[in-house]
């Protein structure tokens, strides 16, 4: 494979594509709503109507508006149909020839769509993720070619650094800096790992990227491999994402077939292979050192850092670990330049971010927005607000994050601002809660999660989460006192400060943030608030006797 062949494939693919494409989502969400039947229905209808020469039906990746699936979109006129039933397929096809349909037509001018800015999801929902040719047709793998032939590894690292891209897995560590660190480490053998263990409940951005545009991830990893001097990459995907695994596997095979992965990519000296490792149901494996343990075939127990994986990672070798979304940004940065990328977002948080907008909100789904947009814009404009009632809080960052009260909806969405209000970006889960949501229960829910997902290696996390959970339960049962509440808060800080890895360090966040913003919800459940029974009789305490010092206490 060389540059010309790549262009030829792209050209050939484009020439083969029909002028009208009916895109039907085949990602997990829509599949669950029976989109495969819709897809088949559309194909049959096209055949029936004998439109096969100018119309094709394509099973595509995620369009984002998951709550309204199955979604069907007509390209190029951009008509969108929502909640399509298989028996509506024929009438939708008939609209191409002037017919009418009873299918619900979506409003593509709605802020949910119009406010988005798509970098990573640029092609999601527009191409068939199971065909590499479609990816190549939209310019895929050109960035890889570009780095191999026009840039030195150092230049690539520099470009990424200049773009201002930060880790999309939650921590927000500058990606370029991480790459530079691994690139500088001595050693023949280095590894690239893609963290696809998206474990935060309420987050499915990475699943969508892997399902909808798997090559984007592979290309980003290959570029990273070139930049840091690694020839072997692993994608660690959680087993709960079978479709993502299947599509990544297909994508790797196809890329290998075209010489876009494997030995001497684009006939250059650069070799890069990618293997998939499948998780087995352990949230903690999203933590990078635990993930490495898991790839090595062990229990997902994190280990103390330093040394960081960049210094000593997989099998003790320098290892670059980034999240799916991070890698999915790489090709765009290489193609369009660091300056272009850095022009998006805020001063410290560049580019776009995908969020999974869920919970008590009218428009559920995936959105990609420029950094710096406010929570209010996302929740009220794009999300359309809470169906009946008002927003109470928005939870970001999953079990590691916090609950941001409605009064702070004007907070801009960027790493620093979210941190400042006691939450975090996390991987991009954004769960909206309305006035009916009990915030203590929410804290308890997350603590239940953490107590179940702690690996058990270090004591604060292993038992601290169990104790916190029972303290929350005690509060919810109206059995707790103010002293219990204080003890709980003290334990939160202890678990936060002494746990070995990020899971424990962030496990108390949902409690602390709800305590901070919704203290009355805790206080009104305390025993004193329910029935005032002071444990000590305030009067008649003093005995007849003994030293004043003691009794004065």
């Amino acid at each position: 494979m060389d540059w010309n062949e790549l262009l030829e494939i792209a050209e050939h693919e484009r020439s083969q594509q029909k002028p009208i494409r009916l895109h039907c989502c085949t990602s997990t969400g829509c599949r669950a709503a029976n989109s495969i039947a819709v897809l088949n229905g559309l194909r049959d209808a096209v055949d029936e109507a004998k439109l096969g020469d100018r119309v094709e039906v394509v099973g595509v990746g995620c369009m984002g508006f998951c709550s309204r699936g199955p979604l069907v979109q007509i390209d190029p006129n951009d008509d969108l149909y929502e909640e399509v039933k298989p028996d509506e397929a024929a009438s939708i096809v008939s609209t191409l020839t002037g017919g009418t349909t009873s299918a619900i037509k979506g409003d593509t001018q709605h802020p949910f769509f119009s406010r988005q800015m798509k970098v990573v999801r640029q092609h999601s929902g527009k191409l068939d993720p199971e065909r590499i040719e479609e990816y190549i047709a939209v310019g895929g793998y050109q960035a890889l070619h570009k780095v191999l032939y026009e840039m030195t590894p150092a230049q690539v690292v520099e470009e990424i650094s200049r773009s201002g891209l930060r880790g999309r897995g939650g921590g927000g560590y500058p990606t370029g800096l991480k790459w530079a660190t691994v690139a500088k480490m001595p050693g023949e053998q280095k590894y690239v790992i893609c963290n696809g263990d998206e474990g935060d409940p309420g987050a499915f951005m990475d699943r969508s990227v892997m399902e909808s545009d798997p090559h984007l991830v592979l290309e980003g990893m290959a570029i990273a491999g070139y930049a840091i001097g690694a020839n072997h990459g692993y994608i660690y995907v959680r087993a709960e994402y079978p479709l993502a695994i299947e599509r990544l596997q297909k994508a790797i095979q196809q890329a290998k077939k075209y010489g876009l992965l494997g030995s001497q990519i684009f006939d250059s000296p650069f070799d890069f292979k990618i293997d998939i490792r499948i998780g087995a149901g352990a949230f903690v494996c999203g933590e990078e050192t635990a993930l490495i343990q898991s790839i090595e075939g062990g229990r997902g127990n994190p280990r103390p850092r330093p040394p960081y994986p960049a210094q000593s990672g997989l099998w003790g070798c320098p290892t670059l670990i980034n999240n799916v979304e991070t890698y999915a940004n790489i090709a765009a940065i290489i193609n369009q330049g660091a300056d272009w990328y850095a022009s998006i977002g805020t001063e410290k948080s560049k580019g776009t971010k995908i969020f999974a907008l869920t919970g008590k909100i009218r428009n559920n789904g995936l959105i990609e927005v420029p950094m710096g947009i406010t929570l209010r814009e996302i929740v009220e404009e794009m999300g359309g607000g809470v169906p009946d009632g008002d927003v109470k809080a928005v939870q970001t960052g999953g079990p590691s994050g916090g609950c941001i009260p409605a009064s702070m909806l004007d907070t801009p969405v960027d790493y620093e601002s979210l941190m400042a209000v006691g939450s975090m970006m996390g991987s991009g889960g954004m769960v909206v809660m309305d006035q009916t949501t009990n915030m203590v229960e929410v804290a308890q829910f997350y603590m239940e999660f953490c107590r179940g997902e702690t690996c058990g290696k270090c004591i604060p996390c292993r038992t601290g989460t169990v104790q916190l959970y029972s303290m929350l339960t005690k509060i919810l049962n109206g059995k707790a006192t103010k002293a219990d509440l204080d003890a709980m808060e003290a334990l939160c800080y202890m678990v936060k400060d002494t746990s070995l890895c990020g899971l424990g360090m962030s496990a108390p966040n949902p409690v602390l943030s709800t305590l901070k913003y919704f203290p009355e919800e805790y206080r009104e459940r305390l025993q004193e608030a329910i029935a005032p029974t002071p444990p000590v009789e305030p009067t008649e305490q003093h005995g007849t006797a003994t030293a004043p010092e003691l009794l004065a206490q």
């Binding site: 002293a483 444990p535 305490q541 003093h542 005995g543 007849t544 006797a545 003994t546 030293a547 003691l550």
Partner: protein, 192 residues
């Protein structure tokens, strides 16, 4: 003149009590192991309530210092402990059963009181097998044996199974002169 003697001369006596919840009485026995120091203690305290040292049946008001032995295992324990807390200035959790629930709490591993009752009165009886039940007389067992501080606030913790007489003395003696004992180090806070 030592400080203790001096204190006696200048201060009225401390109202002193001991209480025994679910435990083996070993802590009380260790208290009695103070031996002749008890005679000295008697000069500084009025024992106003104690299973080994007083015949009064009702826990009085205005108690200055109370040693509470044992965990909280049944309704009577609970009721008495709440009363003790309300009427006592300095409550001392006395011995491992009070501090940790200790051996009586081994039944907590069985997940409730049912199994131990069943074993004792149904399996291991020859005649008239039944569970003791007489409301107001025979207190119901609580589901879980608890250390004292899980039920009421505690001022001083004196672990040990039992705490030695030396430890008991070192805890009580400062109190007699109005000082808080220093509960530190192997001699004062070792469990077991």
């Amino acid at each position: 003149m030592d400080t203790l003697t001096q204190a006696t001369l200048t201060q009225p006596k401390i109202r002193f009590a001991t209480v025994w919840l679910a435990g083996c009485s070993g802590c009380h026995m260790s208290f009695l192991d103070l031996d002749e120091w008890l005679i000295e203690l008697a000069q500084h305290v009025d024992v106003v309530y104690s299973p080994v040292g007083c015949d009064l049946k009702e826990y009085p008001k205005n108690v200055d210092v109370c040693l509470v032995e044992g965990g909280v295992a049944n309704e009577d324990n609970l009721e008495l402990l709440l009363q003790v807390r309300q009427r006592t200035k300095i409550l001392i959790s006395f011995g491992d059963c009070a501090v940790t629930a200790n051996i009586p709490a081994m039944r907590n591993l069985m997940g409730g009181a049912d199994l131990v009752l069943k074993r004792g009165y149904l399996e291991l009886a020859d005649d008239t097998r039944k569970l003791p039940h007489a409301p107001g007389i025979v207190p119901e067992l609580l589901d879980r044996v608890m250390p004292v501080h899980e039920v009421v606030p505690v001022d001083i913790f004196m672990p040990g199974c039992p705490p030695s007489a030396d430890r008991i003395k070192a805890t009580i003696e400062p109190l007699l002169t109005g000082h808080k004992p220093v509960m530190e180090g192997r001699s004062m806070i070792k469990f077991g």
